[in-house]
Assembly symmetry: C2
């Protein structure tokens, strides 16, 4: 049985257990996880309709049908013509299905149309069911995540010899993306270069600010390689650290190391967050750590499990996620250290392996 057939069978078993009649997947990573095919995120509907029993059908724009690899695959493909109504086609495939799950990232436009055409049918989110399948990575998946991590680690090494001062954030960000593509990434997903006070905005968009001597610079970047995501953050200090930075960095470094070392099967997602948060809070910076400690990663940059207060999910072998505590001092600086880690049988393995100290650059 192929990998995809096994995954589809797992989905159907779980659907049967939960009383689900059909699963509908469109854009996003759930579809390629089950079928190997990634839908184009455009206005023409692609939807995989999988009944709880029997073979599913990928309903796809006719001109994209040749993109779908079907050799030996356990599903049918139905192309729809430019003047056909894909909603009616999906509705027909769903005939008799009252209880349907729909992929989380599906355009809501299509859900509204499907609801309008058959108001008696109920739609729930497929997220939980798909996360259950995807959250424990296979050895092959972890190898791909490690390979993607090695690429961005290599770029971090290159950046140690790059001049930051006198350049705009945007220019440094461009260099980061070019180097990462050249090192083997197929696509870039984000490229945060946040200098000086901009560092205090965790998702800062690199802009026209010129980096100066005495700035701390957050560099957080990632993309996709062979279908799997990378994501790492390292700190760069331009010649000399700003006031208060070294003390806080010592705390952050300790929080990161301690949280990583704490990870093992059996602990909860929120307890990992608490380990990092308690260290930062005890040092008096708790109100400056304004986000969760991490997120799962795999085919998506962000996926389950989320390391956040309130998530009591138990960590298991094969889960892969980021550990990325941060401290953000408004108007002055920000700092974050981020590694991807994989849960092993009795502990954890860091997939990002560069030194966690900050780099001093020119």
């Amino acid at each position: 049985m192929t990998r995809f057939a096994a995954r589809i069978r797992s989905a159907q078993e779980r659907m049967a257990n939960e009383g689900i009649d059909a699963l509908c997947l469109s854009v996003g990573s759930d579809l390629p996880y089950l079928t190997g095919y990634r839908a184009m995120p455009l206005e023409r509907l692609t939807m995989f309709v999988l009944p709880v029993e029997g073979e599913g059908t990928i309903v796809v724009p006719g001109l994209e049908a040749p993109r779908v690899e079907t050799d030996g695959m356990p599903f049918r493909v139905q192309g729809w013509g430019e003047t056909e109504d894909p909603i009616a086609i999906v509705d027909a495939h769903l005939a008799g299905s009252g209880n349907v799950l729909i992929g989380d990232e599906t355009w809501s436009r299509f859900l509204v149309d499907l609801q309008d055409v058959r108001p008696s049918r109920t739609f729930g989110n497929a997220g939980e069911l798909m996360a259950h399948l995807r959250i424990r990575k296979s050895a092959d998946e972890i190898e791909k995540l490690l390979s993607a991590a090695a690429t961005v680690d290599g770029v971090v090494g290159q950046l140690e010899n790059v001049r930051f001062s006198g350049r705009t954030e945007k220019d440094v960000a461009r260099e980061v993306t070019e180097r990462t593509r050249a090192a083997g990434h197929d696509t870039m997903d984000f490229w945060i270069v946040a200098s000086g006070p901009n560092g205090a905005s965790p998702h800062h968009e690199p802009g026209a600010r010129i980096i100066e001597i005495g700035d701390a610079v957050v560099v957080d970047f990632g993309g996709h390689q062979e279908g799997y995501a990378s994501d790492t953050t390292r700190m760069f200090v331009v010649q000399e650290a700003p006031a208060g930075f070294d003390e806080a960095y010592g705390v952050l470094h300790r929080a990161h190391v301690t949280a990583v070392d704490f990870v093992r099967p059996g602990v909860t997602a929120e307890s990992i967050d608490a380990v990092a948060r308690d260290i930062i809070t005890d040092a008096g910076h708790g109100d400056l750590f304004i986000h969760r400690t991490g997120h799962g990663i795999g085919m998506d940059s962000h996926e389950h499990p989320y390391l956040v207060e309130g998530n009591s999910q138990v960590i298991e072998e094969g889960m892969v996620f980021s550990i990325e505590p941060g401290i953000y001092k408004p108007g002055e600086w920000g700092m974050r250290i981020e590694d991807i880690v994989a849960v092993t049988q009795d502990g954890v393995e860091r997939l990002n392996r560069t030194d966690r100290a900050y780099r001093v650059v020119a």
Copy 2:
């Protein structure tokens, strides 16, 4: 009144006319069109809630709130914390709104959650209302689209001197994207390089096939520059055209020129499609023209109006769309010519301006 205030007022006027209580916009271009802010397409909810009267609120993850430019803007921003429930916050902003429109590209997961929390509320698609606002471009928008078109036109010129034979499609595609970024594009959206028989798949993904002498190669690429999209297709023939290619290309070229010349205010979208299709059909290739003739373009690569049979929308000054007939001979070759055109007061202006003949390359 700022551009954004004017657009929001237009949206509210139309909402009032149609009996809509509130508009909810999340990921996609509708949100930046009204507010200047583009939501990160991630798992944390961003949603602009605009009531039919009064000021709207962008509900945004707290760590992304600093990204929202608010100076002089006619809306509020409300950041939500990592342990808060953004659905409850949006629901509170919607209090009393029974008839709500939701942005087409919103993740369906959020729509399902909003429906579950308040089953009495009805949600419809915001697409039509937003298209009404966005479909006629301002002079400033057309200038940006022209600038993006000039960039890809420049790359087409560069490609005339590039060797195709002996290289993989993927390698040529990489060169196309690198050249386009270097020429000024901020992001790339697609990069089709489809050689020989692969050309017969209109949305072919560039792969490992090595381009040979005698291949026809479809090169269709575009991206974003200053927030506006580009999209052009030109044909490249490696030394000598394959059998039957020249005859068909003559037909395709005539279809393209005739369709572009036909465009003016007052004709319908489907009539432009018919003009191109009739020429190709009359020449005996109608069954090989397997897609619509074009799509609108602006902040999105694909938006209204769609030039397709069944769309009787009347063309107006300021509309901007592609004209891209194609002929696809399975197992042998494919061909497509694509320009973006802008509708003027009494006719049409091509924004892509390179020669429509195919290029002979090495």
